[in-house]
Symmetry: C2
């Protein structure tokens, strides 16, 4: 199998698109096995060398709530810091933020759900309580670290159903005023469709100027990459994804994980976008993942290879061709 | 779990989109088991009542080449003909066309690959030989049946690599002149990307006026539904898909199957397109598929349910909410 150039493309060519991998947090937090700390550090270090713009390394939450990530402090301290890569960590409150800053996280990722029901189920706080706690985190983070606000269930709640997008905008406005460097719109359980994504994202760059806007999409109903395309068309250039598509949501049984990082990078590169990522190196990382989580992973490019791959002709091809050509000469 | 209305959408609302299912041909032809004729007839009959625009029922090829479809004549004769549904069959030559017409196929689906290597490997003929044989089929089909030409490897060949789109256009022009009712552009092994699909399809409605243009997409690298979106944006309103995403390609190991029919219909309906299809009935058909092919299927909506599903709140939700509200009142 040899590889050739990508076929001719148009439109998105040369656009710089940033890919963030969240497998170490959003992926591992749902896994029943504890991935050993050494393996976590090795995986983050390998991912850091692929050209990803950002890696969500872990989550500084209660070890009781998420035992899979109870080694957050040690992992964050031990990883190699590749220049240019943002090493982020999820925090839900001031205590988590202080631990993350102590461990030298480049970015604090704060989370609040647009749906009251999902926020209560997920963070055990009302939205009002979460917002107050996270404003306090913004204050203490000050100039020590970047702060990104992830707005969960931005495209729908698995328990409540449709979410008013005005609520999402209202939360975003509040935290842009509080000085966050970025806002992520999260389709927590894969309810978004491309028409909705395009409509939601149009105009956000004007509403929140200077703020990095990220789409965090799940592939629960197979629309993940179609939603990415819709986001690109609306001007979004930052996407979260999870190696091997690992992840899910405890409040939506049957929900598969995030958009798969290597499938996303493959599509972006195929369309001529500039991700700065070595797809082969990323596929190598994905290939190591089943060994860490002890089960198969969803990603498709990892299995089928990129579209530039050349497969050999069938063993009897020369015979078939010779017979066909002989008939043609008759 | 109850279902609510789709969230607010824009752009594609109300557009009539036709979905064709090819599982009985493209799906089953790769299966090692022979699905009993009675089961095939029952599945086609169930699919016919879901609102699909077209069903590719079988393939009139050599029973030796495709033993899984050796009962083509009997299946085509026995199925129920739901008014408005087109019952199509694949044929590669005059002999197959005669059998299909005898069995009352509404439409003959002819296949030639844009890539010479793929055509030789797949049809054991040069492209020139296939084109001559298929022109002869067009002649004998006359006014007895609709004729659709599927152009394989239209977006790339797994063995040759990139395919010159001018070759695709040239084949299309020839068969439009020969009087076909439709042309399908087939991404046989899932090499197409959305930028390529949009660029390829733009302008085809003008080039081939009055001819039904269909996209036949595979999901090998996860781009299937993103490619559908790109096709829709370029004005395509007809899509092939396979129930449960069943299918593959013998010349591209690791290639997964067609775009999954129920996932496609779910996305189209979520965006407000009018497919005329009862998604629940389609999901019921998909749920019966593993019993026929004796393995798991790929589709995601079948597993996760549509985005309109409401999941119950966690069992301890009322307690969590009461505690949070009590803290808030302090």
């Amino acid at each position: 199998m040899s590889t050739g150039p990508w076929p001719g493309l148009e439109g998105l060519e040369g656009r710089r698109v940033h890919v963030h991998d969240v497998v170490m947090r959003d992926g591992l937090q749902n896994e029943p096995v504890f991935v050993p700390t050494d393996d976590k550090v090795r995986m983050v270090d390998a991912l850091g060398r692929t050209g990803l713009s950002k890696i969500e390394v872990t989550s500084f939450t209660s070890a009781r709530a998420i035992p899979a990530l109870s080694d957050a402090d040690e992992v964050m301290r031990r990883i190699e810091r590749v220049p240019g890569v943002v090493y982020a960590a999820l925090v839900l409150n001031v205590r988590g933020a202080e631990r993350a800053l102590d461990a030298r996280a480049d970015e604090l990722d704060l989370v609040v759900s647009a749906s009251e029901t999902h926020n209560l189920a997920n963070a055990r706080m009302t939205r009002r309580q979460s917002r107050a706690a996270l404003r306090e985190v913004c204050r203490i983070a000050g100039r020590q670290a970047r702060v990104n606000l992830s707005i969960g269930t931005a495209f729908g709640c698995p328990m409540e159903g449709p979410v008013a997008f005005d609520d999402v905008l209202d939360i975003g406005d509040e935290f842009v005023a509080a000085g966050v460097t970025g806002i992520s719109l999260c389709d927590t359980t894969g309810m978004a469709n491309p028409a909705q994504v395009r409509s939601a994202c149009a105009g956000l760059a004007q509403r929140w100027p200077g703020v990095e806007l990220t789409l965090h999409l799940h592939d629960t109903r197979g629309m993940g990459l179609a939603n990415v395309l819709a986001g690109l068309e609306a001007g979004v250039v930052r996407f979260d994804a999870s190696l091997g598509g690992l992840g899910g949501c405890p409040f939506a049984p049957g929900a598969s994980g995030n958009v798969c990082t290597e499938d996303l990078v493959h599509m972006l590169e195929a369309m001529g976008c500039a991700t700065g990522i070595d797809l082969g190196a990323l596929i190598d990382c994905a290939a190591r993942l089943p060994g860490l989580v002890h089960h198969d992973i969803r990603g498709q490019v990892w299995r089928a290879g990129p579209a530039t791959i050349r497969h050999p002709r069938p063993a009897d091809f020369d015979e078939i061709a010779a017979r066909a050509h002989a008939r043609q000469r008759l």
